[in-house]
Symmetry: C2
Subunit: 128 residues, 2 copies
DNA sequence: CTCATAATAGTAATGATTACTATTTATAAT
DNA sequence: ATTATAAATAGTAATCATTACTATTATGAG
C-alpha cells in the first residue's frame, strides 16, 4: 500500500476522536482544512484501514457505520436520547455463547455482534 | 386500522413462508397473482404489521430487512455460504446480560439484538 | 528523472427504503 | 342503498449511505 497524505489525515482523525465518528463526520471534520478532499476517499480509506486492522468499523442497524480507534474488542451501545455510541466491554458476554448456539441449533457460529440500545449514563443524570 | 385486501395477502405471505423473506421477496411472490400491487404498499404494510406485533421485523446488518411470522422471541443467524437466515433460541443468552452491562458501564440497556454469522447445518454437511 | 500504476477528486450509480400525490376504496352516517 | 370522509393504494420521485467509475494526479521503484 502506497503512502497518501489523505490516508494519513483520515487515520489521525479517527485516532484523535473521542466519539465514534461516521464517514461523513470525518469528512466534515477534515474538509475545512483540506477543501479538495473527496468523500469517496474518506470511505475508501476508512474501509482500507479497517481491513488492515488499524481501526475498527462499527456497523449500526439503520444508521451510518462508525469507525473507532483500534482497541480491545468490545460491543457498542447507542443511546436512544443523544444518539451517541458507547463501548460495552467484551466481558459482559459469557465466552461459551457460540458453543451454546451450536449445541442448541447445530449451526456453527463464526462471529457475532451485539447491538445494545438504551439510555446512557449522562442522559440518565440529565433526566433526573 | 381499516381492512385492505393487500394487507391480508401480505400478512399471509409472511405467515406461510418458511424462510424469512425480505420486502422485495414478498413483493415478487405476490406480484404475479396481483399485478397492480405496489412495492411501497408491501413496505408500508410489513412495517405496520410489525408495529402491531402481528409479525416481526429482523434488521440485518448491511442487507435488506427480513420479516418473520410472530413466534417466541429469538435471535437470528445468517449463513455466510447460502445467505439464509436461521433462528437461534433466546435461551442461549443468559438473562442477566443487560444487568451485567449496566454494572460494567453505568448505561441502562433497554434492548439488544445479537446478529450471529456462521455456517449453517446444511452447508456444513455439503462441505464434507 | 522517468515511468508504471496506485490513489485521488468529482461525479454518477446503486440499493433499500421512505415520501409524495392523485386516485381508489372501506365503512360510517344519512 | 347512497353518499361522504378519510384511510389505503399505485406509481413515481426522493432520500441516504455507500460504492463504482473515470479522468487526473502523485508515489516511489528502477
Amino acid at each position: 500500500m502506497r503512502y497518501s497524505k489523505q490516508r494519513e489525515i483520515i487515520y489521525n482523525a479517527v485516532m484523535n476522536n473521542l466519539v465514534h465518528p461516521t464517514a461523513d463526520t470525518v469528512y466534515a471534520m477534515l474538509k475545512a482544512e483540506n477543501p479538495e478532499l473527496s468523500l469517496g476517499t474518506v470511505y475508501r480509506n476508512l474501509n482500507l484501514l479497517a481491513q488492515n486492522g488499524d481501526i475498527i468499523k462499527i456497523e449500526v442497524l439503520g444508521a451510518a457505520d462508525r469507525y473507532d480507534a483500534k482497541s480491545m474488542p468490545h460491543f457498542h451501545m447507542i443511546c436512544t436520547e443523544c444518539n451517541e455510541v458507547f463501548d460495552i466491554p467484551y466481558t459482559v458476554v459469557p465466552e461459551n455463547l457460540a458453543q451454546s448456539a451450536l449445541d442448541a441449533t447445530g449451526h456453527s457460529i463464526t462471529e457475532y455482534d451485539i447491538a445494545f440500545k438504551g439510555i446512557c449514563k449522562n442522559c440518565k443524570k440529565k433526566g433526573e
